[in-house]
């Protein structure tokens, strides 16, 4: 029987890369789910597998996670959806640049680490400016003005009007 290739399917190399990526995700999901499942069994065992105990529902959830992850992996190895997920992911790859996400995560974790120290306004203005720059905003002056004004408005709006506590940083010294 001749294999019918789905209409509009991506090129073979891209398809192989997508398939490999799906399998890696599937393997990770199965490993993660098995870990959760094992913890759920321990929880249920601690309560002697009594049906109305705190361990039964986690056991059901753990089993569901393992089952769905295994099915995800099986479908990644033997797709049965006529190439729908492959096409979706090929379109995703074309319309996104995932490398930038790594930079964004580094910036965000850096922000979380320093916000209490340097204060909300300064840290948030810097967060806005740097993120916008990384995403391609080249007008520095406009970027800085928007970032500083937004951070200041949010800080004063939330602390003075809404009474939410935010770290003042150098503004507290002033």
């Amino acid at each position: 029987m001749a294999e019918v290739r789905p209409q509009g399917s991506p090129a073979d190399s891209v398809r192989r890369a997508i398939r490999r990526e799906q399998i890696i995700v599937g393997v990770f999901l199965v490993a993660f789910s098995v870990g959760i499942g094992a913890m759920a069994i321990q929880l249920a065992a601690r309560r002697d597998f009594r049906p109305d105990s705190s361990g039964t529902f986690p056991l059901i959830v753990g089993a569901g996670l393992v089952l769905c992850s295994v099915l995800f992996l099986v479908q990644a190895i033997r797709p049965r959806d006529g190439g729908q997920l492959e096409r979706y992911m090929a379109a995703e790859k074309e319309s996104t640049r995932m490398r930038v996400v790594g930079w964004l995560v580094v910036i965000l974790v850096g922000y979380a680490a320093v916000v209490a120290l340097v204060g909300y306004t300064l840290a948030t203005a810097a967060l806005f400016v740097v993120v916008a720059r990384v995403l391609g905003e080249k007008r520095w002056l406009l970027n800085v003005v928007v970032g500083v004004v937004m951070a200041a408005v949010l800080y004063f709006g939330f602390t003075l009007v809404l009474g939410v506590r935010l770290p003042a940083g150098f503004l507290g010294v002033i």
């Binding site: 049965r80 996400v101 916000v115």
Partner: protein
Amino acid sequence: MGDAFVNLLSGFATILQPEYLLYGAVGVLLGTFVGVLPGISPPLTIALLLPLTYTIDPTAAFLVFGGMYFGALYGGSITSILMNTPGESSSVVTAIEGHKMAKSGRAGVALSISIIGAVIAGTIAVIGLTFFSPVLAHVATTLRATDYFALMIFAFASVTALVGTSVVRGMLSLFIGLWIGLIGIDFVSGDSRFTFGVPQLADGVNEILLVIGLFAIGEALYGGAMAVAGGGSTVHLKGRFWPNRSELGRVWKPWLRGSGLGFVFGALPTGGAEIPTFLSYGLEKRLSKHKKEFGTGAPEGMAGPEAAASASFSGVMVPLLTLGIPTSATAAIMLSAFQIYNIQPGPRLFESSGTIVWPLIASFYIGNILLFVINLPLIRLWVKILKIPMPFLYAGILVFSTLGVYSISNSFTDLVVAYAIGLVGLLMRRYDIPIAPAILGAILGPLVETQFRRSLELSGGDFLVFVERPLSAVVLALALAVILLPVLSRRMRRATQAVEEGDVSALIEDRAGVDATGTGESVPTAGPPRGSSSDA
């Protein structure tokens, strides 16, 4: 019915004060402003704006929610029509016909048909909500723990199976959400579950943090990755704004039919706006005298689904308020908002928190009117917002989401957890795993477990308790059917196709393959909207 009317009037008496009206107006403005931003869906809008209400009194807060609720929906329609980027799956049909209308020089007409339809449908649905909710709440007092368990499982099943493109990925999302909902110390036994020895996880993962992480941060990371790769284009608003007599003649019936479909499907525990919008589109296409215009900008093809989306938006409030069961991501976030104020929706809500519920329902009426009054003159301003550069937009979303998380408890751990959840949200978008089931699982999961354990406690640990009462048994059977139907229909379709083509070997191979996976995929009716395949 008389009681409901009197209570509604008292609700109006509360909110028809200048201060509260102002809160409602602010809600509509904020909801539309954020909702109109490309790729931002109503649940994301509400999640982003939730922190604004932490410090105001509950009645005012729910007025803001009411306004945001409708504002966000309409804001999403503007983006769908002018940019062809539906922020949620129920806007897909709006984007199909509305964007085509806009491209053919009728952007203003499309926007006005959309807003008038939203207001009419919203009002019809709120009338239904007013008089149907107390009746259902009364019926709900007779339900037992097993019935609630079965209804919640049904809500899970329908949201998982009917939304998105794959049952397996939907179920995976649901179980991830249920697992997140389990993290923390069990209040009954004191057992620590899935906390990994981290003391900050003892109280569980904050729902707001989860919602902001999955929706807002996930969307900002995803949108950022898209912005670097290049963005979409906007159709300019030009020409007349109001529909002419012939167009009105074509859309008034679809508005009413869409309202009915939207409310009925929204009020069922199945929830969601996807089914009524697609049903409405199909119905209008069948009934229209201008079938050839469908797909090229038929006003009735947009009016019906828009009305259905708006009506189902109010319809989902029925199971939320009367049963405490959210059947959409937006309703799940509303449930967590209720919980912030120590209000537990359910059959007793109308008795215990009548002073909040009736003003909330009254605020939906006012919200609809404010939506019309405020948004009509501002329509050109909203259109300008679409021109915000993408780097500013996504940097802004990250700033707002970070603020939302940080304002909960000024915690470094919270921020890192939210960013990690955001990364998971990004990966879910990348692998077409819908977000809504995870949100529902995390928020509704603890309630499901409570009913599950209560049922088993009362039955002495006998699992048959869930099928002993006819109502529970029927609802659980329906839930199973909802999950299995897409799989079976796919098998049937393939079998029929193979027999017609005489390719029996393909059929045998297909059966072997399906048996190996044990499941199948539902056929996508439309490409998933960018960033949120199932958010509403």
